[in-house]
Assembly symmetry: D2
Homo-oligomer: 122 residues x 4
């Protein structure tokens, strides 16, 4: 299976956890977050981003790389819950990444941002 | 795009931007972040997570979903730069997500965390 | 001067940087952020929180404490810019902290949150 | 509240919650965070920063300002727990803010950063 296959499958599971699709907040962690609404899972994105940063800093000082993998997995997974809530999929995100590509494209976009930032003085 | 997975291909491009692989900080945004070191790209993870949250809140109030897709793309992309720096790949993350799966598995893990949190009182 | 005196004075300076009060985005960093609007300074709060966390992790590994002080200062300062935009002041925040106090009060509130989280299973 | 500065008083309470000062993780929220160690309270800083951003976005759309005050209070309070852990105080932060002042000074520093960023192309 490709990465995309796995992400698609996960997205289907998240989709099935939506309240409208019968997801049960008492049995499913994902259903509960979706049931609570945006602030619940958006807050987790901020939290998991912070945990990713902390795990990375720990790797800098000899810590365990598998923890970092787990934190990025948590970060991406909670992103996928948010995507599902808004009717979006990981494929939308990956296609956006591809669209910006050769990566030249992606870097061009980033470079444009940098230049704009320079122009605006920030 | 047909034959190779997009995330793998992006990861290969990021890999090629490492200073050790000849990435040029003057020409490539990714090479520059990798050249600057962890704090530069880890900070971006925190920043892009915040921008994801803001874009999602805007969608809640009628904003544009494509902006949200773009912010999640930025978040995942900067995660991939961090992964590359630490010798990891998006496949490691996706495989970790698959490993936790049936999603049952993934939710079990989240539920275990919740229970542990309850036990510890946080 | 007490902390509060200093925070009040800083708040007055931030207030004077509002576009409506003649703050000039070309000359003043604060005026520029206020001129750009909420996303600009809210993003900085996420960014400075991440930098605070990174600086703290560095102290854990022998890094410089003055850097941590500087990052918390940046975090609080950008919070003050946001407060000003919304017609609020650091005194509002400090009074809220006092209100929750004995600290008993503050901890009660946190404990209530913890209990509620336990009840909801998150 | 009249005679002693509120932040100093809060800092003294936090200090008394340190394990070394007899803080009891079973009774006190602050003692528990300090007992758990840096990752526990640093993660809260990322979380409260995200909640601050979300509350601010809600105010943009007609939401309640007192919620924003509460989130900034949470953010500053958890910063104070981190400061205490590292042997620092809110007065260190406030004095750093004062030091950068006239605010001219503070803005000069921010402007220097902007210029340096421009020079480095980020």
């Amino acid at each position: 299976m490709t990465n995309q296959d796995i992400l698609d499958r996960l997205a289907a599971v998240v989709e099935s956890r939506k309240p409208a699709n019968g997801g049960d907040p008492e049995k499913s962690y994902v259903a509960r977050l979706l049931h609570k609404g945006p602030d619940a899972f958006l807050k987790k994105i901020g939290e998991e981003a912070t945990e990713t940063v902390m795990a990375a800093k720990d790797v800098d000082h000899g810590g365990d790389k598998t923890k970092l993998v787990g934190e990025v997995a948590d970060l991406w997974f909670h992103s996928m819950i948010a995507l599902a809530h808004y009717g979006l999929t990981p494929a939308d995100v990956v296609n956006e990444l591809a669209r910006r590509e050769g990566l030249s494209g992606l870097e061009e976009k980033a470079m444009r941002k940098v230049k704009e930032r320079e122009r605006l003085g920030d």
